[in-house]
Symmetry: C2
Subunit: 210 residues, 2 copies
């Protein structure tokens, strides 16, 4: 770990190169119109090598998932004693926002990301799958803690919904052209609304029909 070694360094460099090349091409022409063969050629590498690093084409674009999953899992698992998962996650979302982190959704460059994501149903499907993986990870943590698998999965689902909706909301506004600064400012309330809802329930929303 301390000394990466030449081999490991080269691997990381190759991986990064492929990812960068791919991201660039996707940003220009969308996901489907770029073939893996083309990415390989542009990166000066064989098609097989691309698949060595990224098992699915979708992973070329959504390559931060593993990090995100780990981070969120840690936030929940290693939360301070006496803190509920809702509180821990709420706090974490506020921190991401304050730090201007891409995963807050309220970030300038997000527009391109969202466009590419929506340029392909397959890519969006993978994105949803990753959200599901987050929910599953939460559920596992809760089940370990409580032994109540059903309730764990329910709570995990609700919390994941809050997180992903908050993100999508910010992204949507950025893409719609709202000023990032404005979105960022107003995201604070959005986060609280989402987690309040998860914490206290939807009640009778929406108001009953006439």
């Amino acid at each position: 770990m301390a000394d990466p070694g030449l081999r490991e360094r080269k691997k990381q460099a190759t991986r990064q190169l492929i990812s960068n090349v791919a991201t660039g091409l996707f940003a220009l022409r969308g996901f489907e119109d770029v073939t893996v063969a083309e990415i390989a050629e542009a990166a000066g590498v064989s098609k097989m090598t691309v698949f060595n690093y990224f098992p699915r084409k979708e992973d070329l674009f959504l390559d931060r998932h593993a990090d995100r999953l780990r981070e969120l899992t840690e936030v929940v698992r290693d939360r301070p004693a006496g803190t509920s998962p809702v509180a821990a996650l709420r706090r974490h979302q506020h921190e991401l926002l304050a730090a201007g982190h891409p995963l807050s959704g309220a970030i300038t460059g997000g527009s391109g990301f969202w466009w590419v994501l929506n340029s392909s149903p397959a890519l969006k499907a993978r994105w949803y799958e990753q959200e599901r993986e987050i929910a599953d990870a939460f559920a596992e943590v809760f089940t370990e803690e409580t032994g109540d698998a059903l309730r764990s999965r329910l709570v995990a689902g609700l919390l994941t919904t809050a997180i992903t909706t908050v993100f999508a909301h910010a992204m949507g506004r950025i893409v719609a052209g709202d000023a990032p600064e404005t979105v960022r400012r107003e995201q604070v309330a959005v986060i609280d609304q989402a987690f309040d809802l998860a914490e206290h329930g939807v009640g009778a929303f929406p108001a009953a029909l006439e």
Copy 2:
């Protein structure tokens, strides 16, 4: 509509035949190990025809989605005046269960369905995508009613989580070998637990660490 006509009848018959053949093969050998060409041949039809009826291979197995989506949307949109979406959906789940409907999850033959579904990541991904479509449909209804897109999407997500988790829970028990009658009896409480959670929130679950 009243008179289908020979043409239309033949189309429906062909569609049904393909679907049946496919389902049978999937049940025997799983999703991935059956090719579309094989299904076409077994149904006495060309590969192209299969794709005429089912745009994606996954749709050969998950061909009830459109019905489910329509039904759930109607439950929410056409709920009785004065009834909240939570109440309407809760009631609907109880009805499915009482009627022994497959979508209650507590059904004898469900085991095969679940096995096939889990035999393929691609298939599961499509399943999740369909759940997302349900959430989107709910969100659209709520947004029309209230104009509050953010809250609508949040609530839609929470409700969808309740529905899908309830279903998955029952399926899981059936597959685990629990007697369908037992599962069915105990599902009543499961449904209520899920919708209570959506209605009143997760609070501080799980109890603080230590």
